[in-house]
């Protein structure tokens, strides 16, 4: 219980942002908070945000450990497109749906492994290493879909986005389960400690016996897997694989979610829970703009402003400046 309170305390800024975004939603759309049960499934504004935000939540869950190691994964959006294409092509080629889903997840793992190898073994800068897949990836996805939007009718695959579990849409359950599993994986094992140690001081970590290469590789593999799951949801949602648009620019949403979640781009401490909150803040903002009838394009500008604020607040130059400013203000007050 204590630990839960501690974590909620640590997540105060993210929770505040989320509450703010939700309040805007309530303001522009009264009845936003209403929940109703219909045919064993919950409906309402909050569920909608969770459901729409599921893919970015998944990406953020994979991205947070990557950023914690001082890395970045620019290829997650592309991995979404590729894995979605694999699943769609799989069922269309007569593959059983479990096999198609496994193939899609396996593709994500393979992409993550490629990134991990480049970063951990060949020691490429993460941004450079993942850029390669980012450039080539949409071409690979199109190769699989042969340039078309590959539609499918396999009901089980469609159910990935449409089914209901425990009164919630399946994507929400999947995203929350993945977040829970990742949280468990990093906090119930020593992986979280190793990730934070390697991200903070790789030299000391290696001297203390941490297998730095393995840790670096593992976070990219995990990020690839999460992206593949997000890709499955996105594909199931539109009942088709769109190599051009699936996951387009979502890597940026994921990075922003993690940054809003309080993880420094210079590595170190990270939190899966707060990154998920960050993803929800982004989605709540998006929903609010839509509901207010404002042009959805405003969302991009707002996102930029939020990130600019977070970056300023995180920047090493800002803190002393802010402290000085405060001191000066206090001085003025004292004199007045």
């Amino acid at each position: 219980m204590n630990a839960v309170i501690q974590r909620l305390k640590a997540a105060r800024p993210q929770l505040a942002l989320l509450v703010l975004a939700l309040l805007v939603n309530v303001f522009v759309a009264p009845g936003f908070l209403d929940l109703r049960l219909q045919d064993g499934r919950l409906f309402g504004g909050l569920i909608d945000i969770l459901n729409r935000g599921a893919p970015v939540m998944l990406l953020a869950v994979g991205m947070a450990p990557v950023i914690a190691t001082r890395g970045i994964d620019l290829s997650v959006g592309v991995i979404m497109a590729i894995s979605g294409a694999v699943a769609a092509a799989g069922v269309n080629a007569g593959l059983a749906w479990p096999a198609a889903i496994l193939a899609a997840l396996g593709t994500g793992l393979a992409c993550g492994l490629w990134n991990g190898l480049l970063v951990a073994v060949f020691r490429l800068q993460p941004i450079v290493a993942t850029l390669i897949l980012m450039v080539a990836g949409r071409g690979i996805a199109q190769l699989i879909t042969e340039g078309r939007i590959l539609t499918f009718t396999e009901p089980h695959l469609i159910a990935v986005a449409g089914a209901t579990l425990a009164a919630l849409p399946l994507p929400v359950v999947l995203a929350l389960a993945a977040a829970g599993l990742t949280g468990l994986l990093v906090r119930a094992t020593a992986l979280g400690l190793f990730v934070e140690a390697v991200g903070t001081n790789p030299r000391s970590s290696r001297l203390a016996g941490v297998h730095t290469g393995l840790v670096l590789g593992a976070v990219y593999v995990w990020s690839g897997l999460m992206a593949a799951l997000a890709g499955l949801i996105a594909t199931a949602d539109i009942k088709g694989a769109d190599a051009n648009n699936a996951g387009l620019w979502l890597e940026l949403d994921a990075i922003l979610a993690v940054v809003i979640g309080g993880t420094s781009l210079y590595g170190g401490r990270f939190s899966i829970g707060r990154s998920v909150l960050g993803a929800l803040v982004l989605q709540a903002m998006r929903t609010a703009i839509l509901r207010a009838g404002l042009p959805p394009e405003l969302n991009l500008v707002l996102m930029a402003l939020v990130v600019a604020a977070v970056l300023t607040q995180q920047s090493p130059a800002f803190r002393p400046m802010a402290t000085r400013l405060m001191a000066r203000l206090k001085n003025k007050e004292a004199r007045a």
Partner: protein, 356 residues
Amino acid sequence: MGRIVNTRTLPLLATVVVFVLIYAVCAVQYPAMLGLRVMGNLLTDNAFLGILAVGMTVVVVAGGIDLSVGAVMGLTTVALARLIEGAGLPPALAFALVLALGGLFGAGVGAAVHYLKAPAFIVTLTAMFLARGCALLISTDSIPIHNAAYDILAGAALALPGGGRLTLVAGIMLLTFLAGGILLHGTRFGAQVFALGGNGHFAQLMGINTGRTTILVHAFCSLMAALAGIVFSLYTRSGYALTGTGVELDAIAAVVIGGTLLTGGVGGVAGSFIGVLIQGLILTWITFDGTLSSWWTKIAIGALLFLFIAVQRLILVASARYGRSGAGPAAPNTPNQATSAPASRPSSGAAAPSAS
């Protein structure tokens, strides 16, 4: 002990070799591609990409990256369409206005990179959102530009022998490369850009104002993005907010394939020019082939990108092994550098064995 490999010439050499190879394959298979007509079209079709690549080269040589160029280009086309069609401004005035705004935008980005000490890619990512959002707020539809002066500019071309045409936009691109080359290799500012990309900390120790250089570098890159927007709007005679989605990746690919190191400090616009041509050639070849689909372009460019990054990495490793160990000393604040544990301890490696 230097001279084992010259990190400056080898990547460029590799670029030229790749270009010649691809060109040879094209020429053998489709002799029509050899003609000046195809070449002229190649230059015209890729004019905006070339101009973007000039700006990107300068940023990458300075050790940074700019993901906002595509969005700035899109914003420029929309703003131009609105200024000319909506506000009825003469094109010349509109051009001057968007160029100035582009430069200012870039200066702001550069200032954020320098003063917030934030990674360039995240700042420029934010800038990309901002620019794309603004563009979409101006208009989500494609706005056609009907303007007599525009039609003249768009159609202006120099006839080339063999039925080819060197259009105005292609000419602007060539001039941009020339200007970029002079800026980077002929001015004091250019030397500072190389110094900043080589090692920002050392550059500062040597008296370079790194803040000023960072701001100017980003301002130049955005200026080029705005120019690319002008060129693109001449090319399509319209303005559309989603213009140039993803072209920042093509521009980066052209720069890297052109032999500029993504780690900064080494490179030039000549290579980027060939990098743009290689991309254009691949696309043209795929078009000529007819059976292959356009997505092969992306895969081919990705593969080339990997090839060149791998070559650069090998060169770096080789020169670190055979050269002096301080060949690439890490500045105190280079966060993304893969740290190879104590291999670079100050007390080890660097020193020669005792003579006794």
